[in-house]
Symmetry: C2
C-alpha cells in the first residue's frame, strides 16, 4: 500500500529540477518541521549523492537502485522503501517513471 497523499504540509512552490528535468521534486515541510520531498524520475540512469540519510518510498511506477558499495541492483515498486546512508550515493535506473517520497534524516 503506497502513500497517496500527505496532509498538513507547507509546499515550496519552486520545483527542484535535477539532471535537465529527468528528476523533478517539490520540497515539503510538515507541521513538526520535518522535511520531505515528493518527486518523479523519468526514464534515465542517474547517480544521486546524499547529505542527510534518506528513505526513498515508491508511490507509483518503479525503479532499480544500486547502493554505494553494493553489487546487485534491487527493484523497488509501489509501497517499497529503501534507505540510503548520509554522505553516500546511489544509482537509480528508471524505465518508465518512478514517483517517490523522499524522507530525510
Amino acid at each position: 500500500m503506497s502513500t497517496t497523499q500527505i496532509s498538513g504540509v507547507t509546499v515550496a512552490t519552486q520545483a527542484n529540477v535535477y539532471f535537465d528535468g529527468k528528476c523533478v521534486s517539490h520540497s515539503l515541510t510538515l507541521a513538526d518541521g520535518t522535511k520531505k520531498s515528493v518527486g518523479v524520475i523519468l526514464p534515465a540512469t542517474l547517480t544521486f549523492n546524499t547529505g542527510a540519510p534518506e528513505i526513498m518510498e515508491c508511490v507509483a511506477g518503479g525503479c532499480e537502485y544500486l547502493l554505494s558499495g553494493a553489487s546487485e541492483w534491487v527493484k523497488s515498486g509501489p509501497g517499497d522503501t529503501f534507505k540510503v546512508p548520509g554522505n553516500s550515493s546511489f544509482q537509480i535506473r528508471v524505465a518508465e517513471s518512478y514517483h517517490y517520497i523522499c524522507h530525510f534524516g
Copy 2:
C-alpha cells in the same frame, strides 16, 4: 513578489507528467477544498487545454504565452499572473524554466 510557499495543504504524492516530462506538477488541496497545482515547465513550446478556468501564477523563471484567439505573445515572469478561460486553450513557450502555481476555478 512571488508566492514562495503554500501552507496547510494536502499534496498528492504522484506527480502529473505531461508532454514526456516537459511539464511536471503536483496537485494540492487546501483546507477549504480548493484545488491548485504547483509545477514546472522545461524548455518547450506546448499547448494546454483547459477544463475549468485557470489562473497561472509565475513563481520563478518565466514564459511567453498566447491565449486562444489572441495574436500576441505576452511575457510572464515572477509574480505575474494570467487568466485562461474554461474550455479554452493556450500556448506557452519556455526558454529556461517556468515555475508556476495553477489556481483553478
